[in-house]
């Protein structure tokens, strides 16, 4: 193909030529200065991080960071051999940090059981189970409490039974009734006690961690401080056997074992909370085996494909049509038309979607009322699908409009002139000359837009929330796409959230869309031509 050329920037009175001049200013000393400044700053930040990491003894991280910084410096001072790297490094570093790492994280989560009930670590879970399985014993008492030091400085609890008013002194050895008159309490507050110094303020607050584990044994139960002024008699119902790593129920000796899936279980009974742990391919196999997940998958997939494809094709066609139509040289109001046409793009998407939802209401919405029709835009399964595509196209057309405008500029006039001289009509010129050249630039954009709409959670969620429910599936509605279906299944789902399952489905969706893209790439020969 002969070299096509880019036009020289506008020459309308020199107003627009300041920008190219500004850009080319960077090719001189200014650019060099900026480059050095950025490089120094980058190295400085790396050194800062290395110092902090050294202080935290993170040797591996230090080694990695030193190697990376050295590598980058070498590449930038490496001369001609490493020129491509110099251009690519800034973008790649950011890409790795903020796009690739989340992907890695998602993959990691898909191999865990991260879900409701399995959110914290194992040690935390054990501690929480111990706390939450305490129970007030029969006739368990509640006390008003004051924390004090006795004459020898030991920590004691001064207690008053809230029901009977009797006073006690409690230590970690046991409870002893207080001599009458020893403890002076009024209005439910222990004010003073002879021979004891009651702690207040910071002295008391600093003891919080000690008080969390302080127990005054009373028979099988114990009195535990709850707030700064109350204590409650509680009895453990489970005991943790650290050697065997199991919980034993005191009442009947039932043993709750680690089921390797993040919970302590005994038969059908499960202790809550569980903890987050790796479960291998369990999430992936549940996708294949669980009918709840599996059955609507095919129909949802087909609709997702149709939705993405329909949106892209319609938006591109409309955007291109508008770009060509409104691109006539010298036509009046061009700027006005263009400015108005990008407004759908400029307004926050979810607001437009919510407003469209109201407009398309079949009984009260304006659309049905203006045209005196009664199409159930959002209530009927098929019409809802049409509505999704139409509204999505409304949102996406401005993007393709602007892209087409820019891309049309890259097609030099001589080519179209030559074709016209050769006797081609406008449609022929378009099909044989303009469109192929346009597709060269925009094909990857179309594929990318397809992928974006394939995963376009927002457009579906805010317009129809995946509805209407058809009853074919208990979770997927008529307009649910794979990603919103995943969301409903795993985030807003049955027993709470299941991020592990959601991640696994996400990975499968990715393979699907990557596969489709790879096929499109090879069919449109985009890679061959462009690369």
């Amino acid at each position: 193909m002969s070299a096509t050329t880019a036009p020289i920037p506008s020459n309308d009175g020199g107003r627009a030529s300041w920008l190219p001049r500004l850009i080319s200013a960077f090719s001189g000393t200014t650019g060099l200065a900026v480059k050095l400044a950025l490089l120094s700053a980058g190295n400085g930040l790396a050194v800062w991080a290395i110092v902090t990491l050294l202080a935290k003894h993170q040797w591996i991280a230090v080694a990695v960071l030193v190697a990376a910084t050295a590598l980058i410096d070498l590449l930038y001072f490496g001369g001609a051999r490493t020129v491509p790297a110099k251009f690519l490094i800034p973008g790649v570093v950011l890409l790795l940090g903020f796009q690739v790492v989340p992907i890695v994280y998602t993959v990691a989560v898909s191999f865990t059981n991260y879900s409701t009930g399995h959110v914290i670590g194992k040690q935390d879970a054990i501690k929480q189970i111990e706390i939450t399985t305490l129970q007030p014993p029969e006739n368990g008492k509640a006390y008003t409490m004051a924390v004090a030091h006795d004459a020898s400085g030991r920590l004691v609890l001064l207690l008053q039974d809230q029901l009977s008013g009797k006073t006690f002194v409690g230590t970690q050895k046991g409870l002893t009734p207080a001599a009458p008159g020893l403890i002076h309490a009024s209005g439910g507050v222990i004010e003073s006690a002879k021979g004891y110094t009651i702690l207040h303020g910071l002295a008391l607050f600093d003891l919080d961690k000690t008080l969390q584990t302080y127990v005054v044994p009373v028979g099988k139960a114990g009195i535990r401080p709850q707030s700064t002024t109350t204590a409650v008699e509680l009895q453990p119902t489970l005991r943790y056997d650290a050697k065997r790593g199991v919980f034993v129920r005191l009442a009947d000796g039932a043993v709750f074992r680690d089921n390797r899936k993040g919970s302590f279980v005994h038969g059908q009974e499960e202790l809550e909370p569980g903890w987050k742990t790796g479960v291998g391919f369990a999430n992936f196999s549940s996708i294949i085996h669980d009918p709840l997940v599996r059955s609507p998958f095919i129909s949802v997939f087909i609709w997702t494909f149709g939705f993405a494809g329909g949106t892209v094709l319609l938006s591109f066609a409309l955007g291109l049509f508008l770009a060509i139509t409104l691109n006539k040289k010298g036509m009046r109001f061009q700027r006005t038309y263009r400015s108005i046409l990008i407004i759908p793009w400029a307004v926050p998407g979810f607001l437009s979607l919510l407003v469209w939802g109201g407009l398309l209401n079949d009984k009260f919405g304006v659309v049905n009322r203006i045209f005196h029709i009664s199409i159930p835009w959002l209530f009927d399964a098929n019409w809802a699908k049409v509505s999704c595509i139409l509204v999505s196209a409304w949102l996406t057309t401005p993007y393709f409009f602007v892209v087409s405008l820019g891309a049309l500029q890259a097609i030099p006039e001589e080519l179209t002139e030559a074709a016209r001289v050769d006797g081609g009509g406008p449609f022929q010129i378009f099909r044989r000359v303009t469109l192929p050249l346009l597709l060269v630039t925009t094909a990857p954009l179309l594929i990318a837009s397809f992928a974006f709409n394939f995963n376009n959670f927002g457009n579906i969620y805010f317009l129809t929330n995946g509805g209407p429910f058809t009853g074919n599936s208990s979770i997927a509605g008529a307009t649910d796409i794979l990603i919103s279906y995943t969301y409903k299944l795993a985030i807003a789902g049955g027993k709470g959230q299941n991020y592990g399952l959601a991640s696994a489905i996400t990975i499968i969706i990715f393979f699907i869309i990557a596969g489709i893209s790879a096929i499109s790439f090879s069919r449109t020969k985009v890679l061959e031509e462009v690369v």
Binding site: T132, T133, Q135, L202, P225, T237, F364, F379, G493, G494
Partner: protein
């Protein structure tokens, strides 16, 4: 060239050295004294700050740090991933989060004294209780809310029976060529919460209660016998246009405000809107259909997180939540700042706003929304059943709709 390279290298080293010096000088500040971090949302921030500061004044040495999370439900969602340095010790919570947060091990049990417990209606404490084996209280209620039937008293008479409600609504609808008789919101996504009075009035329930008094997710009453027996009433309402699922939130509001409907089912969040509208209205409970048509009850309050213990402020957090926030004065200021009715009955007696009081009365006998994680599966299915059954022309028969919803929900819960 060589000298230039040396110059560059020098420059780089100097700048790097400066940054190294920075690194050395950055210290983490340690605050003296105990700090209690409370999360709440934008609406409640001022009220919570006032109450918390009043409590802190009684506990010298404590600093209270109230953080406004933008979205109320974000508190629940962020609690699982928040870093310990930024984690809250106390959060304001909706009662239906209890099951999820407790199952995740993110909140601490709270023990109230008998005297304090007496000041709260049993269902409010129940709403914050959860436990598969042992039921524990995980939160302290501060305010309650429920929807009610708002009647435009200038246009119609306040109905005392459902039959009267039906005939008045239909008569008004006919006279004004309106779209519906009662403005209650559903929309294409459905709204089981707003339709609940009709649901409970027909004898439906969500989860039954087992012998231990706990919610039983295997006992789903979405297609209960009583409901199915009287499902034909729904078909009748649909046919005569009493309710229609095309009405969404905004539409219901505008129908009532523009006097195209004389009845609106909504909650206290619209109380000021109603007061400023200039319309004369009264809020009542939907009259009994087969059973009492009670609404869902929402209870909100405070919960103590597990980080309170990690931060070393556990006792303080418990003191604020269990001892101070339960007092009538705190309850009143917290609830009224949010435009809701306080949970504490003594505090409730101090409420003078007539609209709030009416909403409160409309909630008598109401059912707290189930706080177990399985509830998530119910909203969509139940809402969809109503949408299908009240679609207008082409609606599914109610009995069929509810039966398939019950089946779908049972499947989703597993």
């Amino acid at each position: 060239m060589k000298s230039r390279t040396r110059l560059i290298a020098l420059l780089v080293v100097v700048v790097a050295g400066m940054f190294a010096a920075f690194a050395g000088s950055v210290h983490a500040a340690k605050s003296a004294g105990a700090t209690l971090t409370i999360w709440t949302d934008q609406n409640r921030k001022d009220a919570v700050t006032t109450v918390a500061n009043a409590w802190a004044a009684k506990n010298p040495g404590v600093t209270v740090n109230v953080v406004a999370i933008q979205n109320f439900t974000d508190q629940r969602d962020k609690l699982g991933t928040v870093d310990v340095s930024a984690a809250p010790d106390i959060i304001t919570a909706a009662h239906d989060w209890t099951g999820q947060l407790a199952a995740n091990g993110l909140v601490e049990p709270i023990y109230l004294s008998a005297a304090v417990k007496k000041q709260f209606p049993a269902y409010t404490l129940n709403a914050f209780s959860y436990g598969t084996a042992i039921k524990k209280l995980y939160g302290v209620p501060t305010q309650i809310e429920n929807i009610g039937l708002v009647v435009n008293t200038k246009l119609v008479k306040v109905p005392t029976t459902f039959a009267q409600l039906e005939s008045e609504a239909l008569a008004y609808k006919k006279a004004h060529h309106a779209a519906v008789g009662i403005a209650v919101q559903q929309g294409s996504g459905g709204d089981a919460y707003h339709m609940y009075p009709f649901f409970s009035g027909l004898g439906g329930y969500v989860f039954g209660v087992n012998s231990a008094g706990n919610l039983d997710p295997s006992n789903i009453g979405v297609a209960s016998k009583t409901l199915l027996a009287h499902a034909s009433l729904v078909d009748k309402w649909n046919k005569e246009g009493l309710i229609n699922s095309a009405v969404d939130g905004s539409t219901a509001q505008s129908l009532f405000l523009k006097k195209q409907a004389a009845f609106w089912i909504t909650g206290p969040w619209n109380s000021q809107l109603l007061e400023q509208s200039g319309l004369k209205f009264k809020v009542i409970q939907v009259p009994k259909i087969i059973d009492n048509a009670v609404p869902f009850l929402g209870v909100q309050g405070f919960m103590v997180t597990k980080w309170a213990g990690v931060h070393g402020v556990d006792a303080l957090a418990q003191d604020f939540v269990a001892n101070y926030a339960t007092t009538p004065s705190a309850q009143v200021s917290l609830a009224l700042a949010d435009g809701r009715y306080p949970a504490n009955t003594t505090a409730g007696k101090q409420v003078t706003d007539p609209v709030l009081a009416e909403f409160g009365k409309a909630g008598v006998g109401g059912v707290p929304m189930p706080n177990i994680p399985q509830m998530n599966s119910v909203w969509g299915g139940l809402g969809a059943a109503w949408v299908k059954a009240t679609k207008g022309s082409g609606a599914t028969k109610a009995a069929t709709a509810f039966k398939s919803a019950a089946h779908a929900i049972a499947e989703a819960i597993g």
